[in-house]
């Protein structure tokens, strides 16, 4: 039998097999030890290319930006409250047009260079400049200047902006970078440890093919206990979950899996370590008002009146039915009854008025997140079973989806938009004003008028009220059918301390978690 093997098996393969067995025996204990070490371990499903604050709006990059770069001001973890960052305090002039930010002294960047007023002014100008994703946030900022005598940065506004602090607190919105390093590295700034330089609590120490390693920055002005953070790149959602359940990861930032969520809710070990709350986004089915038959409001209303959203959201499993477009955290939010509740007779009448003979053909475009697809299947089934529509669904990956929606080629699609700052007026303006940045090809003079007034109004409450009036019109017009307030969920392993007393999913959500406020004790 022994000779059999010698004859039939290539010798090289035997060597490989033997080495594998020996390595397994020798290194398994070592590997186990690595897995029970003390750094905080989490993951990103996306490969990290560049962490440059002016290009950082996606959540997976904001998590990192929040640790690497310190901002002028920032959000308190799990809250919309703005707290000091590089600015230790600030004051607004009585007319609300000048903000003076007093800067902490003796701050350093990760490369040891001092944080200067010039660096701060440069960073804010950069965020305001062309090519920055924060450009819109600085629309009301007329000038940025350094006041050396007061050791302060002075922002002059062109009009009163009640949300300017929140805009600056958005992760990446006022992140401070070293001017010299940015000028030296250009487009490569933020790509590798050598050129990723901030003044935040953690510095990028290592970037390998498999993980990013962060080390605590000793010169940061706040103390921290977690010395090292390891962020692994794990693209597959199922693998991420297995790694967490096996104890190899300490934190899952955003859970989109309904079954996993339900399991964590029941598991008493995670009682104080599983957080959930309304996600800071709005979720709706949208129409392109330039494409027939949805250019006719009656057809859109007929679609809305053919859907039982309760049923669809049960399938989604990670949200609660929303009857409006405003997020519960936004001023102006109110509990509504559904404007176009399911009523098939009314829907049939609307189609008749529009001169259309059922079934009307429609294609719903959905991006490929399993829970979104499942819910949309339920919508398609409802529309088709009504006999009023002949709907098909196209599932597309995110890259295609986002570009095609922006180009305006999809007539009927799912939409999920982050609310950014808790300003109802700006949020509704961005999506539904004819000049809004993310407009879905909708133009309504009354809505435009209300929103123009809303974004100019310095009083947050009145802004909210005007936005709510615009929302009412939008819902009547059925250019968007609200779906749900999505539930954001995040979970830490029970051995992660410092997360028990707040809800990490509140406010802007899990992206605001600061690692230096955590500690890890796997004993």
């Amino acid at each position: 039998m022994k000779r059999w093997c010698m004859v039939a098996v290539p010798r090289g393969s035997l060597v490989v097999a033997a080495t594998a067995v020996i390595a397994t025996l020798l290194y398994a204990p070592q590997l186990a030890a690595q897995q029970t070490g003390m750094p905080l371990r989490f993951f990103s499903s996306q490969t990290i290319g560049r962490v440059d604050p002016i290009m950082t709006q996606a959540n997976f990059l904001q998590i990192l930006s929040n640790q690497i770069y310190e901002q002028l001001v920032r959000y308190k973890t799990g809250s919309w409250e703005v707290v000091p960052g590089i600015a230790e305090k600030w004051a607004a002039s009585p007319d609300g047009l000048t903000y003076t930010f007093t800067i902490r002294r003796n701050l350093k960047f990760h490369d040891g260079s001092p944080v200067t007023l010039d660096d701060i002014a440069f960073s804010l100008e950069r965020a305001k400049g062309q090519g920055s994703v924060w450009r819109d946030s600085y629309a009301t900022v007329a000038s940025i200047a350094a006041d050396r005598q007061q050791n302060a940065i002075v922002l002059k506004l062109s009009q009163k902006d009640p949300f300017i602090l929140q805009k600056l607190a958005s992760i990446g919105g006022s992140a401070v970078v070293p001017k010299a390093a940015v000028e030296r590295h250009g487009d490569r700034f933020g790509t590798i440890p050598e050129n990723t330089i901030g003044a935040g609590p953690y510095r990028l120490a290592q970037k390998t093919q498999t993980e990013l390693v962060f080390e605590r920055f000793a010169d940061f002005y706040e103390p921290g206990t977690v010395e090292r953070i390891i962020m692994r790149i794990i693209p597959d959602a199922r693998t991420q979950r297995l790694e967490f359940e096996a104890g190899n990861l300490d934190w899952v930032g955003s859970i989109l899996d309904r079954e996993f969520m339900e399991r964590l809710r029941r598991d008493t070990r995670f009682q104080k370590h599983y957080h959930e709350g309304p996600a800071p986004d709005a979720f709706w089915y949208g129409f392109n008002a330039n494409i027939r038959p949805f250019s006719d409001a009656r057809v859109r209303q007929a679609v809305a009146a053919s859907i039982d959203m309760e049923q669809a959201v049960r399938v989604l499993g990670i949200g609660r039915v929303a009857n409006g477009l405003l997020h519960p955290d936004l001023p102006g939010y109110k509990q509504r009854t559904r404007v176009h509740a399911r009523n098939l007779d009314r829907a049939r009448g609307l189609l008749r008025e529009a001169g259309l003979e059922p079934p009307v053909d429609a294609t719903l475009y959905v991006w490929n997140i399993p829970s979104f697809v499942a819910m949309s299947e339920s919508i398609v089934q409802q529309l088709n079973s009504s006999g009023l529509f002949r709907t098909q669904m196209q599932v597309v990956e995110f890259g295609t989806f986002i570009s095609e929606v922006r180009k305006g080629t999809y007539p009927f699609f799912i939409n999920l938009g982050n609310i950014g700052v808790p300003d109802a007026a700006q949020w509704v303006f961005n999506s539904f004003h004819s000049k809004g940045t993310f407009n879905v090809r909708y133009k309504n003079g009354i809505v435009d008028g209300l929103l123009d007034r809303a974004v100019r109004d310095p009083d947050p409450k009145r802004r909210g009220e005007l936005a709510a009036q615009a929302e009412e019109r939008i819902l009547q017009d059925a250019i968007a059918i609200p779906i749900a307030n999505r539930i954001a969920a995040t979970v830490f392993q029970p051995w992660v301390r410092g997360v028990e007393d707040y809800n990490a999913t509140a406010g802007p959500g899990y992206i605001t978690v600061r690692w230096n406020k955590l500690s890890v004790d796997r004993r």
Binding site: V16, Y27, A28, R50, A58, Q130, T191, I233, A246, G399
Partner: protein
């Protein structure tokens, strides 16, 4: 024909093929929906930012100008730079290729190690219990898609038994721990090959064992193991080697899925990320380098084939 001439001739013949692949990939990218300038911004796409980035990257240039520029760089040995990281594509490809090659070689080794002996045993004792077992397992191996195999292995050996890592890779390919990380993905990649090898070796071996030269060897009084090992097996291995070129394509396709499931930092995952982010230079680079790699491996397979089967060489010389 001298070996050097054969290689040079094949290399010259590869130029139009690889050039054709470069054109096809470029055209596919032109018609591919999605825009890297949108994707780099996340969910909230600001058209002004998109416009600025499109201009900066030269994506607003006519396709011919873009292709010409890329080809010019290629001729200078430059595959361009990633739109996302700004890093040169060649610099990104190197380590990723090494990770994929490591996994691919282990997968193929596993496929050989398991498939060839299984096929031989099955053929030597046809219709026996071992034959039925081998055939059944081979059929299962052929029927299970790579991602199903991967998930089963991950769940049983990684999660429940905890004898191997669920996912990941060591930082260095030279690290002995790397083998631990590679076991499950390599089995996932290699199982299909093992199944094909087992079936192919079984069939070929059954044929070979009835050939005259085997009867002669037995008549000369050679031991059964020697007959099989020295006389039958080299003949059986010829179709296995011939299929190596085909295997490679299957392995590369399998690697794409396996690298995602096991978080393995190879070229498949690089390609997946690049497509998701519409990082055009990286997509073009991966496609081109993969095409060249397949071409080179096929050339090597052909050369090995002539070594294993002298008749091929003699025919060529004649």
């Amino acid at each position: 024909m001298p070996l050097g001439t054969v290689i040079l001739r094949r290399a010259a013949l590869s130029i139009p093929t690889i050039g054709g692949i470069a054109i096809v990939v470029f055209v596919l990218l032109l018609v591919m929906p999605g825009n890297p300038a949108d994707l780099i911004q996340g969910e909230m796409v600001n058209p002004e930012v998109t416009q600025a980035l499109v201009q900066k990257w030269g994506l607003d240039q006519p396709p011919l100008v873009r292709f010409g520029r890329w080809l010019g760089s290629l001729l200078r040995g430059d595959l361009g730079s990633s739109l996302v990281t700004g890093r040169p594509v060649l610099e990104m490809l190197g380590p990723r290729m090494a990770y994929s090659a490591y996994l691919g070689i282990l997968g193929i080794a596993f496929g050989m190690l398991l498939g060839i002996p299984a096929g031989v045993i099955s053929a030597v004792r046809p219709n026996s219990l071992s034959d039925y077992a081998t055939t059944t397992v081979a059929l299962a191996g052929l029927s299970l898609p790579v991602f199903v195999t991967a998930l089963i292995l991950q769940l049983i050996l990684g999660f429940h038994l905890r004898v191997l890592p669920i996912s990941g890779a060591a930082d260095s390919l030279l690290s002995p721990a790397m083998l631990l990380y590679a076991v499950l993905p390599a089995i996932s990649v290699g199982l299909y090959q093992a199944a094909i090898n087992a079936r192919l070796v079984r069939t070929t071996m059954l044929d070979t064992l009835h050939q005259d030269f085997i009867r002669t060897a037995r008549a000369k009084g050679l031991a059964s193991l020697r007959v099989i090992g020295r006389h039958a097996l080299p003949n059986v291995l010829i179709p296995v080697v011939t299929l190596m070129g085909v295997y490679l394509r299957t392995v590369i396709a399998g690697l794409l899925l396996v690298e995602i499931i096991f978080a393995w930092p190879g070229i498949g995952r690089l390609f997946y990320d690049a497509v998701r982010q519409r990082d055009y230079p990286v997509i073009q680079g991966v496609a081109l380098v993969t095409a060249v790699a397949i071409y080179v491996v096929n050339l090597v397979v052909d050369l090995v084939y002539t070594y294993l089967d002298p008749r091929v060489r003699l025919e060529a010389e004649a």
